[in-house]
Amino acid sequence: MASITPEANRPPIARAPRRGMSRRLRDDLRAYLFISPWIFSLLVFTGYPMLASFYFSMTKYNIVSPPVWIGLENFRVMFTEDSLYWLAVWNTVYYTAISVPLSLAVALGLALLLSQRARGIGIYRTIFYLPSLVPTVASTLLWIVLLNPRLGLINVALETVGLPRLGWLQSEDWSKPAIILMTLWTGTGGAMLIFLAGIKDVPQSLIDAAMIDGANGWQRFRYVTLPLLTPTIYFNLILGIIGSFQVFGQVLVASGGGAGQAGPLNSLLMYMVLLYRNAFRSFNMGYASALALVMFIVLVLLTLLVVRTSNAWVHYEAAPRR
């Protein structure tokens, strides 16, 4: 994530002066040969699907028979008739609104801990990162055991400290917090390492200057380190939103597969699960495309919103990184 606009400081490509059009054309053709796989991929695996999803979203299509044009009918059904739609929207927004900020805060906290000068810090870094390596299916199965409502480890621990046992994945109210808890264990390692690198990039001279001015530990963090980390937070925020709006694996495994209710009273019916069921269980490809398109537009708008508001809180005056 060095810089997203790398063109600025790019050295010119040294090359002999051009000798006429034919040489230029030959250069172009050779370069296009090198880049042709990617152009093919952009056309076939990005451009075409994007255009096609606009078209499919206005059709009734089950793959077997050709698509039938129905205009905006899919969107009308989605917004006004499909009761599962708004439930899925609510579940996904709930999950995202809590898990993204919480994950960022935990990742930042862990990174701050790891930035302390203590012996054996590498071991702690490894331990904190290790859960991120575990495949989703395996980690979810493990957490189903840990979160067992009767005699799971978490509930026993809660009871030991005098708190009530919770229903977790078996309860309508606690199933989403359960998934969020899992996400904290498996999903913070990457962001943590990125924050750690960001913290280590804060110039020591700034910290020293703040210390001379009498800033205590919290003030040094709040007014020196944190502002310099905002580009990293910003980047992780956007990725976090995009990722958690599309949360899928954990909830599918935790709610016991693609059939029946997704969790107690469909409390784990996330947007992606609804889409998966429509597309690959009942083969309503048209309706599923409409679902995908709405999600896509919402994500683009959200990203733009974050980008727009970023001027207010993202500080770029730091020395260029690396």
Binding site: A2, P6, R10, A14, R15, D27, D28, R30, Y32, F34, I35, P37, W38, S41, V44, F45, T46, Y48, P49, A52, S53, I63, L113, Q116, R117, A118, R119, R125, Y129, L130, P131, S132, L133, V134, P135, A138, L141, L142, V145, L146, L151, V156, T186, G189, G190, L193, Q204, L239, F245, Q246, F248, G249, L275, Y276, A279, M285, A292, L293, M295, F296
Partner: protein
């Protein structure tokens, strides 16, 4: 990216100015916090191992059983030879998937990244801009038409839809390798050009040896991505003989219905986790540099 130097000099300064006691109490506090958090992160792993060695009846008991009695080592061979979890077959499917996919990604992304980094052609900057834009593209919008495309080609049910698209490069890896190539001095590639080498030779003989660390990062992360990939195989594969490990584990759980044999599930999970953890320990440096270099979240 040498981040250790300022740390050492700072330690020396502190040592010289005699802040030993403060340093010591600070370190004590830091260690206390670190240990508490480390225990929180490790307990689930510990419970995974403990549960994998229990009898089925000892999983949910009051009080909790921390030391299985008897220790059921036999859970491992039992899980890994179970007809519902044919480990060897699942493993070989996974290796086929990860290796072919990773090889394809590394080769194609390197070639394309080289063109972006070292070749001068019309439309390059526009094309690179588009490439950056697709980095942010949510997978959800291309999912269904891509499925329809492969369905039309009769390739649903095979690994082709999972492997073929990445053989033409992926935006993320092209971007990463291109950025890395930009740090290689132009003098080196220009010298080869003056000696009469063409782009193919320069890429293979000059560039590839110089960017080996970045290639390793790309390979490791893509390997990990495919090893853990759940949704792709779930959507495209239907014959359980073709499943990779992760999907095999998912369907293993599904076969139990109501009464799941959790010790067996945990044994099977450990068998899937161990190779990844081993890879991490072997290539830890690349891993951590890679995450920080790329801003990649997890796997």
């Amino acid at each position: 990216m040498n981040r250790t130097i300022p740390q050492t000099t700072d330690q020396q300064t502190k040592r010289r100015s005699g802040m030993w006691t403060r340093r010591l109490s600070g370190e004590l506090l830091a260690h206390t916090l670190l240990i508490i958090v480390a225990v929180l992160f490790l307990v689930p792993f510990l419970w995974l191992v403990i549960t994998s060695l229990k009898q089925k009846s000892q999983v949910f008991t009051d009080p909790l059983v921390w030391i299985p009695d008897p220790i059921m080592w036999s859970n491992y061979p039992k899980a890994l030879t179970s007809p519902s979890f044919p480990f060897v077959r699942l493993l070989s499917n996974t290796i086929f998937y990860t290796v072919t996919s990773t090889l394809g990604v590394v080769i194609s992304s390197t070639v394309v990244a080289y063109a972006f980094a070292r070749m001068d052609f019309r439309g390059r900057d526009t094309l690179f801009g588009i490439t950056l834009a697709t980095l942010m593209l949510p997978g959800i919008v291309t999912l269904i038409p891509t499925y329809v495309l492969f369905s039309t080609l009769g390739l649903v049910g095979s690994y082709a839809p999972l492997i073929l698209p990445v053989w033409f490069g992926t935006a993320f890896n092209i971007f990463l390798l291109r950025q890395f190539m930009m740090t290689i001095p132009f003098d080196l590639t220009d010298a080869a050009r003056v000696d009469g080498a063409g782009d193919g030779v320069i890429l293979w003989r000059v560039m590839v040896p110089l960017i080996r660390p970045a290639l390793l990062v790309v390979a490791i992360f893509h390997f990990l991505y495919t090893w853990n990939d759940f949704m792709g195989p779930l959507i495209y594969l239907s014959d359980s003989n073709d499943f990779p490990l992760v999907l095999g584990l998912y369907s293993f759980r599904g076969r139990f219905g109501g009464s799941v044999d959790w010790p067996l599930m945990m044994s099977a999970s450990i068998a899937i986790i161990v190779p990844v953890v081993l890879l991490f320990f072997v290539a830890q440096r690349s891993f951590i540099e890679g995450v920080t270099l790329t801003g990649l979240k997890g796997a």
